[in-house]
């Protein structure tokens, strides 16, 4: 993976071209991931519910998502006459742009990383907040009662869960003494008993719950509660504009799975010394796939929360727990010199 060392060299046109190629490669990988994550999700949930899942389009149903996407591309795009046209068109693109831009800084292995940002995790927080705005804009611009309710609910939920999500990571930052994701992984070097999910077990639990809620996935998918709000903020969207909302949701699944792997599951490190010969990138992909599977598993298992329980959970349970986690971590560093 030597070619990526050009990040230390002065910028030339050749390097800029390489960067563009890399970004296109990431986009291709992400779209491939989204296509098969949707297929995998439907299959896994199908098996968990004693169904077969998609199995008609292509061998084993592998082309099902491809067919769905091409159908969306060819669908007529209706914009309601009463909608705010400019904002209506802007919202799906605005939801997608930050979801893709957050992928610029994720380190996949020791040598495979694109932007090496020292602000690290803060970059993710700053950009992912923009998607909330896009959802509110989409809900408001649709000029539809369901969409407005869905958009407002979604915004309230996302900002409420963003606070514990952000605070739960402070413990990891304290142990590593850096916000840079690469340094956070290096601070966990060693085997599974060195990884953050053990000393930061409270932070890890809060992070996972808050992340599922940020992704608007079951059991926190109230903004899209089909039974009460039809489809939430994107009820008026059709065709490819709708596809962009779904795409950005799955790109965030990708980002959150990567972040969980990096922050709590030791990134590219092997779990036990005997398995050190397997390259780091493979470990990263395996852990990433495990996190994605768990997200789907949770969706198949848990019923949806009630609206009045949702906000209470964020502010009354997760926020105090995540703050407690910071001070426990601080005390442990002070008393036992933990994380060294």
């Amino acid at each position: 993976m030597e070619p990526l060392r050009f990040i230390d060299k002065p910028l030339t046109w050749g390097h800029a071209g390489l960067m563009v190629l890399m970004a296109v490669a990431v986009l291709a990988v992400v779209i491939l991931f989204v296509t098969y994550a949707i297929y995998f999700e439907r299959k896994v949930i199908g098996w968990m519910q004693f169904r077969k899942g998609p199995n008609r389009t292509g061998p084993l149903g592998l082309l099902q998502t491809v067919a769905d996407v091409s159908k969306l591309l060819l669908k007529e795009d209706t914009i309601p006459a009463k909608a705010d046209r400019g904002l209506f068109i802007l919202a799906p693109a605005l939801a997608f742009i930050p979801s893709f831009a957050v992928l610029a800084f994720i380190p996949y292995s020791q040598h495979l990383q694109f932007a090496d940002l020292n602000v690290g995790f803060l970059y993710y927080i700053a950009l992912s907040g923009v998607t909330t705005i896009a959802i509110v804009i989409g809900g408001w611009a649709s000029n539809n009662k369901y969409a407005l309710l869905g958009g407002m609910r979604s915004a309230a939920q996302m900002i409420s869960y963003e606070v514990p999500l952000v605070i739960s990571v402070v413990g990891c930052v304290m142990l590593a003494g850096s916000l840079n994701l690469r340094d956070i992984v290096e601070a966990q070097s060693g085997y599974f008993w060195h990884w953050n999910f053990l000393p930061q077990i409270v932070g890890f639990a809060v992070f996972v719950v808050a992340a599922i809620s940020e992704l608007n996935r079951t059991p926190f998918d109230l903004p899209e509660a089909e039974s009460e709000l039809v489809a939430g903020y994107h009820v008026e969207y059709s065709g490819f504009r709708f596809a962009f909302f779904m795409l950005s949701e799955y790109v965030y699944v990708y980002a959150i799975a990567c972040l969980t792997t990096i922050l709590f599951l030791g990134g590219w490190h092997a779990p036990i010394p005997q398995l050190d010969f397997i390259p780091g990138l493979i470990w990263f992909v395996l852990k990433f796939a495990f996190v994605v599977f768990c997200l789907f598993w949770i969706r198949a298992t848990f019923p949806r929360l009630r609206v009045d329980q949702l906000m209470g959970l964020a502010w009354k349970v997760l926020l105090p727990l995540s703050i407690l986690n910071i001070f426990i971590t601080a005390a442990c560093i002070e008393l036992f010199g933990m994380g060294g």
Partner: protein, 123 residues
Amino acid sequence: MEKYINSYVIVTVFLILGIAFPVVVLWLGKQLRPNKPTPAKEVTYESGNVPVGDSHIRFNVRYYLYALMFVVFDVETVFLYPWAVAYRQLGLFALTEMVIFVGLLLVGLIYAWKKKVLQWNSI
């Protein structure tokens, strides 16, 4: 220094590609998809009924209270992160200061809790 500049160049490249992708795909879709608008298609959806009234209305003030709480605690995290990065060098004094700071904010949270801001009893 090169690394720092190059990192932000990469971020810019991702941002530009992120903007270009929806623009290109939506333009491509426009060439491919049919477009036969009728008044019936452009009616706002309301479960099959003719929509009643406008949707740009005043909504529950509760959402603003959540937004206010979010601002308070998000600003707290802005202070928490630099503190967390430098914690090893700062030691016990910084810990005490942070306990006081977070304690003050928690008093606010408890006040909001007692005022039933966190209770969600209507949409």
